[in-house]
Amino acid sequence: MHIPDGYLSPSTCATLYAFAASGWYSALRRVKRMLASRTIPLISVFAAFSFVVMMFNIPLPGGTTGHALGVTVAAIVLGPSGSILAVSIALSIQALFFGDGGITTLGANCFNMAIVGSVVAYGVYRLLSARAEVKSRRRVLAAAVAGYVAINTAALLTAFEFGIQPTLFHDASGMPLYAPYPLHVAIPAMMIGHLTFAGLAEAAISAGMVSYLQHADIGLLRGVRDGPPTPLAVTVQPSSSMRLWWVVGVLMLCTPLGILAAGTAWGEWSSADLAKPASRAQIEAASGNHAAPSSVPAGLRKLSALWTAPFPGYAPRFVKSTAFGYVLSAMFSVGLFLLGALVASRLVRRTQAQEPPS
């Protein structure tokens, strides 16, 4: 699953680096808030552990062996944020020092395996082991299922990234410029190996380790993230969250840049666009001179009447300036997101408070 350099186009790599960077940033902030100055030694040694576990040959049913990622155990013990950092560091060492996985594809590999892998593994484990005793068999089963699902989700993402390459990046003669197989070939080819071998290896090592820890070191299953406060604990400075607010503010002020883009985004046409001759000409030009439908499709006409947006085209009706309308829309959306996040965090806190201590 470690994608080498050259399989993905630079734009795919850049997009996945951006996704991974946002995951790393929020994970680092959360881990520093929980572990303070213990972050660096704990994540470093755990990353080294993840690296070594990836080298273990896991015996599988049928006499074969497979390699695991160790992302599930990392997510169970460290929590998703710690696991994202530890597995990303392990993958970086593999790429930079041992040449396993590429440099341009490091963002993709970390996004698939460390970020999505950790979040899925942690989510499935918490879901299946909810309200279970720390020593219960259900936790072992939950770890196995979490490992299996996490690896296969990461593999599916990898297959998807491979599969979109020939469609998006080919030359005039149709020759694929990067990974050459379309989705209908890449997904089965990737998933067969992971549904049978790699997924089982991760399930086996995760279940085995949780079972071992239940008997030998139960404290780790309660999570090292809840360790005792350290004497030299460094708390997160309020200035770091201020920086984020500044970035959000600047981005909101930049939203009127959208006005500079001419025309309508491909595929985002309204019934009115399809009815006007000038917009129809633009649609046909943007679609490789394929003729637009002769009339507005009946389904589109029917569904477009279902909902009228309060700020159509990011321009509230009561605002005359388009640029100010953009900024106002951005402020309204950020406010909605904040409200949603506040409600979600209150709900999560209430659920956690109701859960019996394990």
Binding site: A48, L96, L232
Partner: protein
């Protein structure tokens, strides 16, 4: 599968990691071209070349990039046999295996029909397979050149100079250090278990043994992290990372940086 083959293959993997690290250390101390350059120039230059190779679509330009890489390797006193065994054969085996079906499944003008089976190789399929293999070979060789010619500590310092956060650089450095300690620990655990095992183990028992070893390693890792943390506190660590950056650019470094960037721009210009 023989009785202990899964243990032996794990042990072989550990030995390979040690061997690769030793070879890299030896190569990094050779008086070659890359070794003489400032590590920041090496990191930026090689990274620029890798990106340009990934951007290129023309076979001839990527082939020229591979030729340039070989010249740099020879000037850095690296053996071509080392590159062949460590990179070229491995990539050819792996990527070649992946690219092989593309010869037949990529739609396009038929080039020739494989006798005996009703399969035809398309021009587009052949070009796509060669392009993929050549690009992966070139990018992997460039990355290996950087790793072989630059001690890990210098790569990290160079990354820090390029504004990678100090916490990340410190974690990469510490992880690298403890990887070898934990490999050694795991190696000893597997060896001692193997030396005490007589007779056939069932599949379940083998899996249990592997999971227990990983579990013990996890407990040891967490304990080790506590010890490392206490050691850091005793040396005055207060959560802020301080790293020294004592590199000095010379005339040769500026010349090499210009050459790397020029070659990268030329490759992108002619290869797109």
């Amino acid at each position: 599968m023989s009785q202990h083959s899964f243990v032996e293959s794990t042990l072989r993997g550990f030995a390979r990691a040690f061997s690769q690290a030793l070879i890299s250390e030896k190569a990094a101390n050779q008086p070659g071209l890359l070794q003489r350059l400032d590590p920041r120039v090496r990191v930026v230059g090689i990274l620029a070349l890798v990106i340009s190779v990934v951007l290129c679509h023309r076979l001839s330009v990527i082939a020229a990039g591979l030729a340039l890489t070989v010249v740099i390797a020879l000037a850095s006193r690296l053996s071509l046999w080392l590159l062949a065994t460590r990179i070229w054969f491995v990539v050819l085996g792996f990527t070649g295996f992946i690219a092989l079906p593309a010869l037949f499944v990529t739609p396009g003008s038929p080039l020739f029909l494989v006798p005996g089976v009703h399969l035809s190789v398309s021009v587009q399929g052949l070009r796509a397979a060669v392009l993929l293999i050549l690009r992966v070979e070139t990018a992997a060789t460039l990355t290996t050149l950087l790793m072989l010619c630059t001690p890990w500590a210098h790569i990290l310092k160079a990354l820090r100079s390029l504004h990678l956060p100090a916490e990340i650089v410190t974690m990469l450095a510490m992880t690298h250090r403890y990887v070898f300690l934990l490999i050694e620990t795991a190696n000893q655990m597997f060896e001692s278990r193997q030396s005490r095992t007589v007779g056939e183990l069932s599949g379940t028992e083998k899996r249990r043994m592997t999971a227990r070893t990983a579990g013990v390693l996890l407990s040891k890792s967490v304990e080790l992290s506590h010890e490392v943390y206490l050691a850091m506190l005793s040396r005055g660590f207060d959560g802020e990372v301080q790293l020294l950056a004592d590199f000095r650019m010379k005339a040769l470094d500026y010349f090499a940086l210009t050459a790397f960037l020029f070659a990268s721009c030329l490759a992108v210009w002619t290869g797109l």
